[in-house]
Symmetry: C2
Subunit: 335 residues, 2 copies
């Protein structure tokens, strides 16, 4: 890729798109020309990048002429429709949707985990599901050290995972409930204010919902462990933008909490927050807005032979989406 | 016990005490005279029971003269102080606090699980920790059917577990955060509005906090399984009054989801809410105010040989406290 590429963002006005723009700016990503693309509804909106006002254009098949790098975050349907046009125009697509993640020809990458997989891309690189990405960052160094045999994870997922409208719904519903009014449901099928519910994706034949199956399949793909044993329960909680995860692993070699803490304190993309004396551990309000995945509550799981329990929190919009996409783009630039 | 006992409630004005009063009324529990007791701070407050206004008295060692049944929900310190006086006065104490739960001489009872243990009481019966009670109701019939070997549970605990003030703090903090003001922390050590955090109890030597160790030890005691393997992570979520739990079990005999669903549909105190087609599963807003523990998301855990995953929600103030205490009292009346 050119050292200073022409960049396009598809879905620029969405919750993730906004964060992609901010992340490119914050990380001084070299950009020659930036094209902001979205559906017709957002055409004509303006957004700021490095002090310049840019106008959002409606995406068409010919939007990608001259584009070197296209970051897609407009959902799987749009990705399937427009990625082939972008690739044909010569762009590399970093896709935030689920459209291509399990395609064997498409690398699915968290740079800290399997950056080397980028080398074999054929025009499209997939950005993983947010819950999978946040899970993999702290688990990968533990897997390298002691080989993880089994993962049991229960999530505490924020509204941001369902987009900007879902975040607004959490706020407006909360106001309504506090005022004694009924909670208006538009984005989520169930009340999100002062409630938790099983993730709002279709439940598959195996009893797991789509979100859970993504976590299982994508973690296996990134770890290059097609048989890795994973049980996951995805739950929405009334939090705005960071996901938390309660994780129990079993390893082939025993890993003490101290050893795990030591490994994690050196691991890229991870911040250990594990202060039992002060009862201070990872929390979504502190994970929001930062790039690192917080990990703590590291303790021996007494219920299995070589078990380790922990609690994790990571920004769904950053490491779970925009930041990881920009990190992928940075690796593409270097190679 | 007399067929129509004199009843005292200690901690009558607290979140649980209020529910004990309502539950006695709702379930037509026979009461000759009701004495409402609390700390000096609540002295003189009035509360209604069966259309009569009752005045709350400050508890003293002599408050229990003539009392046949005393339901305590004023914390472990007060239980340790006043239970001996109540027992000496001839009352049976049903204690909601942790003070006597692990005392080998004190039965710890969820009627649906180990009601028979009541027979050996010596004046005090302990009501379990709310999270343990809610967990045990659906797991006990599965344990009886297939012998549970291991439990991995992550909780989504409501503010009510920390009392009425904590519920008020969740509401006031939420208003403040929505208005862009800082969240005032008085009850909880961390912001509860739009956040989740590790349960605010002291972390013990084994890395588990007090709440988690209660779940482990009390479940073992009620199940009469002193070695039962349990890993638990207790997390607070911004929900007002019902606890939810993501549970994965391993059983000695294989239990299919269908068989588990069938067993649970006949189990006392349980309501199966498990409609994958409608994406409708247990939620705390629906578990609040009802006596049954909701259970659903029943599915095979593919990560272990004989694993089963599920999601549970139960009213922390009812089955987790007041209702269970009144059910214990009802069993005492019958015996």
């Amino acid at each position: 890729m050119k050292k200073t590429p022409n960049v396009a963002i598809l879905g620029a006005t969405g919750a993730v798109g906004v964060e992609v723009l901010k992340t490119l700016e914050r990380r001084n990503f070299p950009v020659r020309e930036l094209t902001l693309l979205a559906s017709g509804r957002s055409e004509g909106k303006t957004m700021e990048f490095r002090g310049r006002k840019l106008t959002v254009k409606a995406v068409t098949p010919s939007s990608f002429a001259g584009v070197d790098l296209a970051i897609f975050s407009a959902g799987a349907t749009r990705s399937r429709e427009f990625a082939p046009h972008a690739v044909k125009a010569g762009a590399i697509v970093v896709d935030n949707s689920s459209a291509f993640r399990m395609d064997p020809a498409v690398p699915l990458v968290v740079p800290e985990v399997n950056g080397a997989d980028l080398l074999r891309h054929q025009g499209i690189v997939a950005n993983p599901n947010c819950t999978a990405a946040i899970l993999c960052v702290p688990l990968w160094p533990l897997h390298r050290a002691a080989k993880i045999r089994r993962i049991v994870v229960s999530t505490y997922q924020s509204a941001s995972g369902a987009g900007a409208k879902a975040m607004a719904e959490l706020e407006s519903q909360t106001r309504d409930v506090l005022d004694g009014k009924p909670a208006k449901k538009e984005v989520f099928p169930h009340q999100i204010a002062f409630n938790v519910f099983s993730h709002n994706t279709k439940v598959a034949e195996n009893g797991f919902n789509e979100e859970e199956n993504k976590v299982i399949e994508e973690t296996r793909k990134m770890f290059h462990e097609p048989e890795l044993a994973i049980c996951v329960t995805c739950i929405r909680v009334p939090v705005l933008r960071a996901h938390s995860e309660s994780v129990v692993i079993e390893t082939e070699r025993e890993l003490t909490p101290d050893e795990a803490r030591e490994i994690l304190s050196r691991a890229p993309g991870v911040k250990v927050v594990d202060d039992s004396a002060r009862n201070y551990f990872p929390m979504p309000i502190e994970a929001g807005g930062i790039g690192e995945v917080l990990v703590g509550r590291l303790r021996k799981d007494p219920s299995s032979l070589r078990g380790l329990a922990m609690f994790v929190a990571g920004d769904q919009l950053l490491k779970g989406a925009a930041l990881n996409a920009v990190q992928i783009a940075e690796m593409l630039l270097q190679r």
